[in-house]
């Protein structure tokens, strides 16, 4: 019971449409009920008044006619008067009692009157309508009583009760219909507005509100809404164009892939929002290769600009107090130059490595960055080494001591350097791919030479359809020389 009441309450306090419908319907229903009771009482009172007037008239006519005809012993007239009284549908009975209590005349004949008792017992209400009157004539004098039937009042009252009830029910049904239609007139455009907004929110930006009828506020809201969406979309397009240009610029300052002295290839797929990835490699001397990849926090132009700034410093060797052959030195110099409070709270993760091609020793340092993977094949087995250490990201903590580790690589090893955008992909089932899964993927995936386009194709099969959410940066160095 309490539950269903809560349900009803919930219905009425639900959507705007329901609230309007219930408000209008209840309002009109109340009007109907007022009409109902008002009509019943007014009609009833009016009919009772006219009934009372009519009975009084009948009584008066009877007294006047009877007295006159009894006075003159005009029995024919008396007969006529009684005949008229019988036809009066209000009159139920007449008793004429003389002074000595004998019944002179009565109607109907089977009525028994002994001064106090009426054999034709009228109903309770009828008793209220026995009217008495004295009369005087030459033959006799006495009293006559006229019983008026109230059946007609009850008949009339039940008739108007029926009529008014039926018309009220019709009125209530019409109220609900009208309330519903009227509410729909208001809420339908609102609902269309909502639907269109929801569609635009989920990416269907070509949807517009298509209201044409009416001149009310909802139409002007719709028009303004369409204009607003157009303006916002055009602003968004401008911004996207800017981002696209920025991405082109980032691409332009990346070093070109090379074949000699050793093959280095890369793929860079900037995200729509521009992720802030950048990478590079450089022969510090004919036997020393430095290579690095960084990923600025956040997205957009700010991130891209910071990544370009860092990249430029590394490329132009303009970094102050940095030994480019020493990863710790480079990261510490960058950490000093790019503290996040000076760069709009932006920081970056970075992987920096220096490879000696003669000793095959790789000195590396990774700051908050996923490790590089080295794919090595020995005697038909394939293994993937994780090359990374756990330094704090660059720009977070001043005077942080970055740690450098060393690993000896073998000929034909393949180094993969990448940003998290390469493996943090949303899979078909909605879950995220992990670094370990990417590791497994690389182990199982390919035979030499790890064609990058093929890798991307395979990754796209795993991930949910659509463009890459984050910048995709993948650098491949094959130790073949």
């Amino acid at each position: 019971m309490k539950n269903s009441f809560a349900k009803i309450l919930h219905f009425f306090s639900g959507s705007l449409r329901r609230r309007l419908i219930s408000f209008l319907s209840i309002f009109l229903m109340l009007l109907s009920l007022i009409y109902y009771f008002y009509t019943l009482s007014v009609q009833g009172a009016y009919f009772r008044a006219s009934y009372a007037q009519n009975t009084a008239d009948v009584l008066h006519a009877l007294k006047f006619g009877m007295e006159l005809s009894l006075q003159q012993e005009d029995y024919a007239s008396l007969q006529k008067i009684f005949a008229w009284a019988k036809q009066e549908h209000y009159v139920k009975f007449i008793v004429l009692v003389s002074e000595d209590s004998t019944v002179v005349a009565k109607f109907p004949d089977n009525l028994i009157w002994d001064n106090t008792y009426l054999s034709v017992k009228p109903s309770l209400q009828d008793e209220n309508y026995i009217l008495k009157n004295k009369f005087v004539s030459s033959i006799t004098k006495g009293t006559f009583l006229v019983g008026f039937s109230t059946q007609i009042i009850r008949d009339y009252e039940s008739k108007i009760l029926f009529d008014v009830t039926v018309s009220t029910i019709i009125f209530i049904i019409l109220s609900i219909l009208f309330g519903t239609l009227f509410s729909h007139g208001i809420t339908n455009p609102l609902e269309e507005l909502r639907n269109v907004t929801e569609k635009i929110a989920t990416g269907e930006t070509d949807k517009r509100v298509t209201l044409k009828k009416g001149t009310d506020e909802i139409l002007s809201v719709s028009t303004s809404f369409n204009t607003m969406v157009d303006r916002v979309l055009s602003a968004k397009k401008d911004l996207e164009n800017d981002l696209l240009e920025a991405a082109e610029f980032v691409k332009a300052i990346l070093p070109a892939p090379m074949k000699h002295p050793l093959p280095i290839d890369w793929r860079f797929i900037p995200s729509k929002r521009l992720g802030g990835d950048a990478f590079g490699y450089d022969f510090l001397d004919p036997n020393t290769l430095a290579f690095y990849l960084l990923d600025v926090s956040g997205h957009g132009l700010g991130a891209a600009l910071l990544s370009v700034a860092v990249l430029n410093m590394l490329r132009s060797k303009s970094l102050k107090d940095a030994d480019f052959k020493n990863p710790t030195s480079v990261l510490q110099a960058l950490n000093t130059s790019f503290q996040m409070e000076n760069y709009g709270d932006k920081y970056f993760t970075m992987w920096y490595g220096v490879l000696d091609l003669q000793t095959m020793q790789l000195k590396y340092s990774s700051a908050g960055h996923p490790p590089a993977f080295v794919v090595r094949r020995t005697d038909g087995t394939k293994e993937v080494l994780k090359i990374g250490n756990s330094n704090f990201f660059v720009g977070g903590m001043p005077d942080y001591d970055f740690n450098t580790d060393t690993v000896t690589l073998a000929k034909n090893d393949i180094i993969f350097l990448f940003s998290d955008g390469v493996y943090e992909l949303e899979k078909e089932d909605g879950s995220m791919m992990t670094l370990d899964e990417f590791n497994t993927f690389l182990t199982r995936c390919c035979e030499r030479p790890f064609e990058l386009d093929f890798l991307i194709q395979e990754l796209e099969k795993i991930k949910k359809p659509g463009p890459f959410e984050d910048d995709f940066s993948l650098l491949r160095i094959t130790l073949q020389f």
Binding site: Q72, Y75, L78, Q79, L96, S138, I139
Partner: protein
């Protein structure tokens, strides 16, 4: 003794005479009918039945139409008291009952013997009573009231 006897006899004779006189007085009201009515005499009982609404038609089937004087008329009073043994008021109330029950035609109330005679001469089934029987029109006939 004889005297006493004679006195008694005298009283008896006087009483008998009185009754005779009374009967003669009674018969001074004479019932009149329309000439076409075949009735030649009428008994008190029949008269009573007719004037209290119990008989509604003559033997030949014609409806009886009573003609009477109003309740304050002396002749009416005598007739009601002598023949019907009731007050005119009582008779009137009986007529109210009888006419309202629709059993017979209500009596025609007239205001004089001339009017009465005229009405009876014009109505076949009419019956009334008068005191003055002189110059009775041809259209009427008198009949005696007999005791049974």
């Amino acid at each position: 003794m004889t005297t006493l006897f004679n006195r008694k006899r005298t009283y008896f004779l006087l009483m008998l005479f009185g009754v005779t006189i009374g009967t003669l007085t009674l018969h001074s009201q004479t019932v009149i009918l329309n000439k076409s009515n075949p009735l030649e005499k009428i008994s008190r009982a029949t008269l009573r039945n007719i004037f209290l609404g119990n008989n509604t038609a003559w033997e030949n089937g014609v409806r009886i139409q009573i003609v009477d004087f109003s309740a304050d008329n002396t002749l009416r009073k005598q007739f009601d008291e002598n023949i019907l043994d009731m007050s005119p008021q009582k008779v009137g109330m009986i007529w109210v009952k009888v006419t309202l029950s629709g059993k017979s035609i209500p009596p025609k109330i007239v205001h004089g013997e001339e009017e009465l005679k005229n009405f009876i001469s014009e109505n076949e089934g009419a019956i009334g009573y008068v005191k003055n029987t002189n110059n009775l029109p041809q259209s009427l006939k008198l009949i005696p009231i007999i005791d049974e």
